[in-house]
């Protein structure tokens, strides 16, 4: 193609996103924090016990964020996939004595089938209608968990789920589980960062921005939405399997409509369309809930109030809002220092 109308200012590669991947710096920071916590506080309840719950929620929120934040497709039934993985592992190991890892794979296979089957018809819907349909799906799965007593143990759930062991390493203590869940969490964050900043990630964001324009750019929008829906479901089911083995017990309460709503809240609270926003939202909400337990009955009231205040003053989400503010502040400071025209690398 012909030369640009205007010569490029400065010359050479420009500063900014291309190829430098600032996202990985964040991942390194996260990894350091995750590794440092149990070393600094090996006996702290908030690290070893709440920390594992935080890890699960981060995995779920990051996977849900791919769907809601990036592709712009709401799901109010995400806990169902978490539950499919968990119950898959629980039923196959306790009732059929299957090896936990095989049970995990079977759970993933079932989730893949279910998610693929409902993805096309459900993702044709938009906005409120999609919200209703996913909500319905979540409720159906929950009802099956409660009603299919012979298989699922009904409202009492299933107990006696065996632990997990890797070759040469049996997960026994809370700290072991912390290590495994943290490792999986970091991998999921890495996968998410990679996807977002790729051809597929741009296709997802294009679907969010304008589905018609995305189609005209050659993106098979139905297929793209379906793919991310299935991927998000698989990650959640994987987390569910680990959750079942970690807890040794599952009951329908862990996968109810309220859990789905909480996951959406984490994504929105941190800031949509930001992987670290989802991480931040999951960490904040899980810690808040654990910390607010001391307020007993008022726990949910305070949590609700915090959410309302955040949404009113930082509608783009805590993490995204604060990061934007910080960046703007730094830029203003730099401008004041540097003479105009200086290249800031």
């Amino acid at each position: 193609m012909s030369a640009p109308e205007r010569p490029r200012a400065g010359g050479g590669p420009r500063p900014g996103r291309p190829l430098t991947r600032p996202g990985l710096r964040g991942l390194l920071l996260l990894a350091i924090a995750v590794a440092a916590l149990p070393l600094l506080f090996p006996k702290n309840y908030f690290v070893t016990v709440v920390g594992v719950a935080v890890g699960f929620n981060v995995i779920l929120a990051v996977s849900l964020n791919l769907l809601i934040g990036y592709a712009g497709q709401i799901s109010l039934g995400h806990a169902a996939f978490f539950g499919l993985g968990a119950y898959g592992s629980a039923i196959l190991t306790t009732r059929y004595g299957l090896n936990p890892w095989l049970a995990l794979l079977a759970g993933l296979a079932v989730t893949f089938l279910v998610a693929s089957l409902i993805a096309r018809p459900i993702l044709r819907l938009k906005g409120h209608y999609l919200a209703m349909a996913t909500l319905g799906f979540g409720i159906i799965v929950h009802i099956v968990m409660v009603q299919a007593v012979t298989l699922t143990g009904g409202p009492d759930g299933l107990s006696g789920i065996p632990g997990l062991s890797l070759p040469g390493w049996t997960l026994k203590t809370d700290l072991h589980w912390y290590g495994l869940v943290a490792g999986v969490m970091l991998i999921v964050v890495w996968l998410s960062l990679n996807i977002v900043d790729s051809r597929t990630g741009r296709a997802l964001r294009a679907v969010h921005g304008s589905e018609f324009a995305a189609e005209m750019m050659g993106i098979d929008t139905a297929r793209t939405k379906g793919q991310v829906f299935v991927l998000s479901a698989l990650i959640s089911a994987f987390a569910g399997s680990l959750f079942a083995h970690q807890q040794g017990f599952v009951s329908p309460d862990s996968f109810s409509f309220f859990v789905s709503i909480e996951l959406v809240t984490m994504v929105v609270l941190g800031g949509m369309a930001s992987t670290y926003g989802a991480v931040f939202g999951a960490v904040t909400l899980t810690l808040l809930k654990a910390g607010l337990v001391v307020f007993h009955d008022y726990e949910m009231v305070i949590l609700g109030a915090i959410l309302m205040v955040v949404m009113i003053f930082l509608p783009q989400g805590l993490f995204v809002g604060l990061a934007q503010g910080l960046r703007r502040g730094l830029a203003r400071r730099r401008e004041r220092r540097a003479a105009p025209g200086d290249e800031v690398a």
Binding site: M1, S2, A3, P4, E5, R6, R8, A9, R14, G16, R17, P18, L19, L191, N194, I195, S198, R199, T200, G201, R202, A203, R205, A206, H208, G209, S210, F212, A213, A214, E215, M216, M217, G218, I219, D220, T221, Q227, V228, L231, A273
Partner: protein, 256 residues
């Protein structure tokens, strides 16, 4: 290049298009004009697979387009811009145009998630293509800006760059000059000419008659969903039926 035969589309009894015939030769600017509601945008949406026609057929390079989904139409080498902006406001200018390279690249979900070396190579290539398309539209200096921070006139050209990045054989432009000021309209005129000179056909819907008459090789006039006239700009300007449709008749001297 593009052959439209007997195309008809109606919405609840209102015929938006009725028995529309025309042929667009390769590498020309072909304009479609007509009063508001004449069916121009319906024609575009039908051509690119957004609406299924009730009757008739569309052939592109002798292969039928009718019945294909928009993304499949795009894969045949047809791209478009939109009357009401359909920019991806959640991305930077460069990323917008990189989406335009979707059909020229391969990376799937799994390879992207694992960020294989081949993915990085392709990313670099896509970035270059997108920068070239931006440069072609005179927008390269804005590539790092978020799309949401740019004025309307610039975004109109971002859409053009995005469409060109897919390397189409035919570009459908739906009112590219609508809402532009005089300077921007002149820029857009130059851009349309450069696109044609680069060997890309342009199918243009536009209300700005000066622009249409200056850039078009041929003009099609629609009225009430039917073809009123077809010919070179000079023929169209002299056609009494067109003057009637546009000016309500009896004032033929008003057209120079």
């Amino acid at each position: 290049m593009l052959e439209v035969a007997g195309l008809a589309k109606s919405f609840g009894g209102v015929a938006a298009l009725a028995d529309v015939h025309f042929q667009v030769p390769a590498d020309v600017v072909y304009a479609v004009i007509g009063p508001n509601g004449a069916g121009k945008t319906t024609l575009f949406n039908t051509l690119c697979g957004f609406y299924a026609p009730d009757e008739g057929s569309v052939h592109f390079e002798s292969a039928p387009l009718t019945g294909l989904a928009p993304h499949a139409v795009a894969a045949r080498g047809l791209s478009r811009t939109f009357q009401n902006l359909q920019v991806f406001f959640n991305m930077t200018v460069l990323e917008n145009v990189m989406v335009g390279c979707h059909l020229r690249s391969r990376t799937g979900l799994l390879a992207a998630a694992l960020r294989l070396p081949s993915v990085l190579r392709e990313e670099r290539q896509v970035r270059e293509w997108a920068r070239a398309a931006l440069a072609f539209c005179g927008l390269d200096h804005l590539h790092a800006r978020p799309a949401g921070a740019l004025p309307y006139g610039v975004l109109k050209r971002v859409e053009v760059a995005r469409a060109l990045a897919s390397r189409p054989k035919l570009l459908l432009m739906d009112e590219p000059a609508a809402g532009l000021n005089d300077t921007e309209t002149v820029e857009m005129r130059g851009l349309i000419r450069r696109i044609r000179d680069a060997g890309v056909g342009v199918l243009l819907v536009e209300h700005n008659m000066d622009l249409v008459m200056q850039v078009s090789d041929r003009v099609l006039v629609l009225e009430y969903g039917s073809v009123l006239a077809e010919g070179t700009p000079a023929q169209i300007q002299a056609d009494p039926r067109v003057i009637d449709a546009y000016l309500g008749g009896k004032v033929q001297y008003a057209v120079d």
